[in-house]
Homo-oligomer: 436 residues x 2
């Protein structure tokens, strides 16, 4: 994607659209929990009413894409079956029922007599979503945005244009029945807008990319707006010397094959040298039986791994049934490897030694550090968040799987009755700093 | 500053220094509360022991800077008196006594029988601090970094080089007496390093700039590392129609003159047209008596404001005894003005109408929204945080005045005993998602 676009400033039309969403987002930020919940119900109902029209639009997109020779995997993602559509609608209902993330009081404090400070969660403002051919993303992100009181500007892939337009039309019809402003959701269909919106710093507060690593990387490199997401997911599992071999094989296999295209699947297995012969003699046949291609470093060659891994392997997210293997002299070498090649996503240790587990988990600077379980658990739904906005690999919060809380921020509300700082400097008044 | 540097990649020397800090930060992240507290005590004591040497070094810097014709305000900030030094040392002791920000359990949840998820606060890793001629910043930031378990790389202004070196030497001597690795703190003295460190994405997790708006802006525009800070502080006060005039005058005055060079001082007063005659007839003489230059829009001219404000005034942070004034037709016009020209720092309303106050506070998208009190309260110490790492004007957390919590992040710790995702997909096991 990086080369097909040029840097593009937002034109007047885009600025006006963004301003409309911004203004609508001011309104929706005042809406109470029930109003936002009801809006989601109306949105879901409207999608049901418009299901045939949406599926027809998707069929047109699909046929058109097929004619244009789009890849099988893209076609599969583009296809919206009735089942997928209803699953998306079910998703909206689930988001509707999540606890309100807005208005939570995080700090409630008397600074001085009559001077009260509150820190409360508030919507972020306007979300900018850029996604590739996955029309279900429109439903999911729109409902998350409205639930959390945000406006949202969406830009989808060209392939799914008709589908996206028909879904947004249904969502707008739903919003019109609700008390919320339908301008809270805006779809951009102009190709140049996807780059231009990266420059809408004043009007978009958070960018959420949904698509390939290349898309995410390109966006991260071309905007100053914060980006919620991750490019690579290079996850590791370290098999410690003192471990339960059967458990190690079972967890390694699940971490690789349960869904190899997921970001939380492992790409590299790091194995303590002392346990390597025993572990590999059990693991190699199991991986082979499950069609996993193993690529090993020099040392692992003598335990029966035929293909050799190069340095490039350590930094590759295969997203496929391929696993690289490295024999390490110690846990600290494993940690050093992870720090050098990892992407701060999720890394695990298999060990019966709790002290080692603790050192590993404290030292590895990834969003998720796991002990004796599959890296595939790194997921907002499995964590019980009820929704997943994305998985972030940055160091600062929100990191890891991000639920609705990733779509809110906070604000300080200070109320006084004529309080001035000079009175505190002169000693006339003093701070109490009392939690309320 | 923007024009005097070229983009500079980190050289081998800088990379090695950064790696040393990174490794030391891994160690310090394991240190417990007492170890970090003790380290701060040793650091404070060592500064006391080395006070004479530090003051002498500062004297050399000062004389040298004076010879080079550095501005008075820079000279004032450069000068480290014995009082200022001891105030800094007191500051370290206060930071020592703050509640440990590390290891706080934010989520503690059973995902399934035997599969336990915890989200705990952890240090961010390595902080990069770039500051101008304020040698006290070295003590403050170093102590905040160590208290929160982070490593820190500091780059100060050339003018204060000798002072910085002697302070760091004392801090290192203190750390050597403690159980912590002295490499946790590193001072860069090479001019080119301040730009090069902006490219140390793998080794620096957060940049904290301390200096002019230009410095902050330059840094924000030239790094992909998150920056904790703000460039402009363009704060507003809106005087609503239904207000207590005396209170309005008193709070406006404090918000402007209590410390005009502060980022939380107001630059613009927005006045409801219906209250303008009454308010200004009282406020103009008071501002005049306090040597505040008033610049008004056209409408305010007829109420006795002689200098006129241009559009440029609305976007200027004067940092001086100058105040721009605009008469607005409604509160919504005031809010629109703030959204257009404000910097999302702190904005207040003066009103007796609680409904209006609520709309204003909910709609204005700034880190601080104040009612009937001075904007000058927007400060980590006044908020009772015990320390202020910086004030952030970004939309996402941390925003507003940031205490120690701005120097920590969190991580997900998941512990199982062989749990794999396949068992949950096949229905063999199920999620409990039970808070512990």
């Amino acid at each position: 994607m990086g080369n097909t676009f040029n840097m593009q400033l937002p034109d007047k039309d885009l600025r006006e659209k963004a301003l409309k969403v911004r203004n609508a987002s001011n309104e929706i930020s005042q809406a109470d929990d029930d109003e936002r919940k009801n809006a989601l119900s109306f949105m879901a109902n409207s999608l049901i009413k418009n299901a045939d029209r949406i599926l027809e639009a998707n069929n047109n997109d699909f046929e058109h894409a097929k004619e244009n020779g789009i890849s099988q995997s893209l076609l599969a993602r583009l296809k919206l079956t009735r089942d997928k559509l209803y699953l998306g609608i079910e998703g909206i209902k689930k988001v509707r029922n999540l606890t309100d993330p807005i208005g939570q009081i995080q700090i409630n404090k008397e600074l001085s007599n009559g001077l009260i400070l509150q820190r409360k969660t508030v919507p972020i403002g306007v979300l900018g979503v850029i996604f590739e051919s996955r029309p279900d993303a429109v439903m999911q992100i729109s409902s998350l945005a409205i639930r959390s009181g945000n406006g949202v500007i969406l830009k989808g892939g060209r392939e799914s244009n008709q589908t996206n337009i028909s879904i947004i039309k249904a969502l707008h019809e739903g919003l019109e029945e609700s008390s919320l402003n339908k301008d809270s959701i805006c779809l951009l269909t102009n190709r140049k807008d996807s780059i231009a919106m990266l420059n809408l710093e004043k009007d978009i507060n958070l960018i959420i990319p949904r698509g390939s690593n290349e898309l995410v990387k390109f966006i991260q490199n071309n905007t100053r707006i914060p980006v919620l997401g991750h490019a690579d997911g290079i996850c590791h599992l370290f098999i410690d010397n003192n471990c339960d071999i059967d458990l190690a094989v079972k967890v390694s296999l699940d971490s690789k094959i349960q869904y190899p295209a997921a970001c939380n699947a492992i790409e590299t297995l790091l194995i303590h040298k002392d346990v390597a012969p025993k572990f590999l003699s059990k693991a190699i046949p199991v991986f082979k039986a499950n069609k996993v291609e193993l690529r090993g470093d020099e040392k692992s060659g003598k335990y029966g791994i035929k293909l050799s891994a190069s340095n490039k392997d350590w930094e590759t997210e295969y997203l496929d049934l391929i696993l690289s293997i490295k024999i390490v002299d110690s846990m600290f070498d494993a940690i050093a490897h992870i720090q050098r090649y990892g992407s701060r996503h999720t890394d695990g240790i298999i060990t019966e030694d709790n002290h080692n587990a603790s050192i590993f988990m404290n030292t590895v600077n990834s969003a998720g550090v796991f002990h004796n379980c599959s890296t595939r658990f790194a997921d907002g739904f499995r964590y019980g968040f009820g929704a997943e906005v994305g998985i972030s690999t940055q160091s600062l919060p929100p990191r890891g799987p991000v639920g609705l809380e990733g779509l809110v921020t906070y604000k300080y509300f200070l109320k006084g009755n004529g309080h001035i700082v000079d009175d505190f400097n002169s000693g006339k008044k003093s701070f109490t700093h009392k939690d309320l």
